[in-house]
Structures are given as C-alpha cells and as structure tokens.
C-alpha cells in the first residue's frame, strides 16, 4: 500500500522556530542569526558591534558552539546578557536549542538578540531558529569561490560582511570578485566591507543594523 505524505522534513523545527518568532515579536525583540565558517570573525564582530550599539539599545547574545564557553566569556566581558549553548557535536543550532535558553536570558530586557551560530558554512543555513533575518560573514582569506560552493547560506542571508579586509594586501584576491560572486547567488544581498581588527566599516554596518531593529 502506498501512502502519499507530502510534508516538509524540517517541519518540526520550522514549527518551533515559528513559535520562538512569535514570542520575540510579542516582546518587540529583533533577532538575528549570525553565521559563518569557523574563525571568520563572528565573536569579534559582536564585540565591536556591542561597543558601538550599546548606547542605543539593549543587546543580548546566545552563543552556539560544539564545545567550550570561550565565546560566551569574551561577550560576558562586555557586561551584557549572554548564554552559551554547547551542542555537544551538532553542527548547527535549531529552534529547540534556542527555546531552551529562555529560562536563562530575560527577553523582556532586550531590544536586539544575536544568535551566534556554530561556525559552519553549510548546516546552520538549513535550520531556522526564529530569527527576523540572517547575517553572514565571509573573511577574505576564505576565497571568492565560497558563494558558489555554499550557495544556500548566501541565498538565505540578508546581509554579508566581508571581514579581514586589512589582510587584502597580502592576498591574491579582490573585493570586487568576492562581491561579484556573492551577488550572483543573491543579488539583493547587502554587503559591508569590514575589518574587526582595524574597525574599518564597522560603523556603516552598525548604522544599518540599528535601522533594522524594531522601534
């Protein structure tokens, strides 16, 4: 006997993510899902962003890593609410993991919640966590072929930060080619060229992000 089913396999996660999203909306909270490969600069970007935007809004962070609380410790030094999730092997965060942090972070006291996903260019793009939108980082050392190799994340992101631009003089890569490749996959991508080390471009990114946060 054949049974026709026609169901999204990720439906269970999508449902929880939607519930998270409804809760965030009720609280007037803007949530971003920050993704990149390991070492592209997610935590450094957060440190820089918090320094600039903390005067304008209340920011909280959920840190996702396979192991360790190193990132949460870095963020905690900025004296803002932070929760560490250790996935214990899983390569991405999902809706349920985010839901389980709600007892550890007071959502009523936040305007912006950043979910720093596990460093990985593949899996996080497939699992919604309840975010308003996704933002990704690509560091210049990763190469301009990444959008074509990992299209889903570039396609799903609203903004792309090209990080470590201070290293360009040492590399055989051009910003123009990275931009061009990224825009082929997602012509609507908003691109920022930044260096978390020198601070270049961080203000432009922050002022855009500020405009995206709900009043």
């Amino acid at each position: 006997m054949k049974i026709t089913v026609v169901k999204n396999i990720l439906e269970a996660n999508d449902r929880i993510a939607l519930e998270n999203r409804k809760l965030f909306d009720q609280k007037g909270l803007t949530v971003i899902n920050l993704m990149s490969s390991p070492g592209a600069g997610k935590t450094s970007l957060l440190e820089r962003t918090i320094e600039i935007l903390r005067e304008d809004m209340r920011i909280g962070v959920i840190e996702g890593d396979i192991q360790s609380s190193k990132d949460a410790e870095r963020i905690a030094k900025k004296d803002i609410p932070v929760v560490q999730i250790n996935t214990g092997g899983a390569c991405h965060l999902d809706g349920n993991m985010i839901r389980e942090t709600f007892n550890d972070i007071n959502l009523d006291e936040l305007d912006l919640l950043v979910v720093e996903n596990v460093g990985n260019l593949v899996c996080p793009a497939e699992f919604k966590v309840g975010e308003d939108f996704k933002v990704m980082i690509l560091s210049v050392t990763e190469g301009e072929d990444k959008p074509a190799k990992y299209p889903l994340m570039f396609r799903e992101s609203r903004a792309l930060l090209i990080n470590k631009v201070d290293l360009l003089p040492y590399l055989d890569i051009s910003l123009a080619s990275i931009r061009e490749e990224a825009l082929k996959v997602n012509p609507n991508l908003i691109i920022f060229e930044v260096s978390c080390k020198t601070g270049e471009g961080i203000r432009e990114w922050c002022s855009w992000l500020k405009g995206e946060v709900k009043e």
């Binding site: 026709t4 089913v5 396999i9 990720l10 899983a90 593949v122 899996c123 074509a148 396609r155």
Partner: protein, 113 residues
C-alpha cells in the same frame, strides 16, 4: 554534517504516519531533495540506514529524487532553471528572483504494509 538530524526528523514523520494509518511494515520512503538544500544525498542515505538498523524499520529503502532549482523573475515574470546558483534572470537580467522549486526537503510517499 546535519544529515543525522534530518534522518531523525524523517523517521519521526514516518513513525507518525505509520501509527496514523495502522501499519507496521515500511518497504520504502520517497523523498525530494531540492538542489539548493544543503543536503548530501549519500550521507543522508547512510544516516538513514544506520538509524533504522536493528529497528522495526530495518530494510526500508530510501528513494531520493533531486529537484532542480527553478526561479521566477519578479520583474518580468520569466520562469527558468537556475544554473550554477546564478540567480539572475536570463531574459531581463534582473536579480529579483524568487525560488519556486528546488529548495525544499520533503517526504512524498511511503510504501507500507
């Protein structure tokens, strides 16, 4: 490697459907994998086989169909196959493309007894 969690979600759906239809043997399950989804079919199949091993679902076949990526230009209405993940309309050159097929990951049909 998120194929393990996907295999688990798939098996959860299969079990729900089997209970709903009062059946106990799964012969095969057919799924569709969109070209844009970040799934490696071989690895999903490997995870599925491992997870059903030794269970009442052992021996069930996973049939996978890859769905090509198709987009529609919001500016001129042209529908086309997106090749090499280049989301630019071949007709008008616009970049306002909505994905109409090829992103989803869905279960389609189960053969049961």
């Amino acid at each position: 490697m998120h194929e393990m969690s996907i295999a688990q979600s798939l098996i959860d759906i299969i079990r729900d459907e089997m209970t709903k239809h009062h059946v106990s043997i799964l012969r095969s399950v057919k799924i569709k994998i969109g070209k844009l989804s970040a799934i490696v079919p071989d690895s999903l199949s490997f995870c599925f086989d491992i997870m059903v091993q030794g269970s009442d679902l052992a021996g069930a076949r996973l049939v996978m169909e890859i769905v090509p990526l198709e987009g529609r230009c919001k500016d001129c209405g042209n529908a086309f196959e997106v090749k090499e993940y280049v989301f630019v309309c071949p007709s008008c050159g616009g970049g306002n493309i909505e994905t109409i097929r090829g992103q989803d990951l869905s279960i389609v049909e189960m053969e049961v007894e």
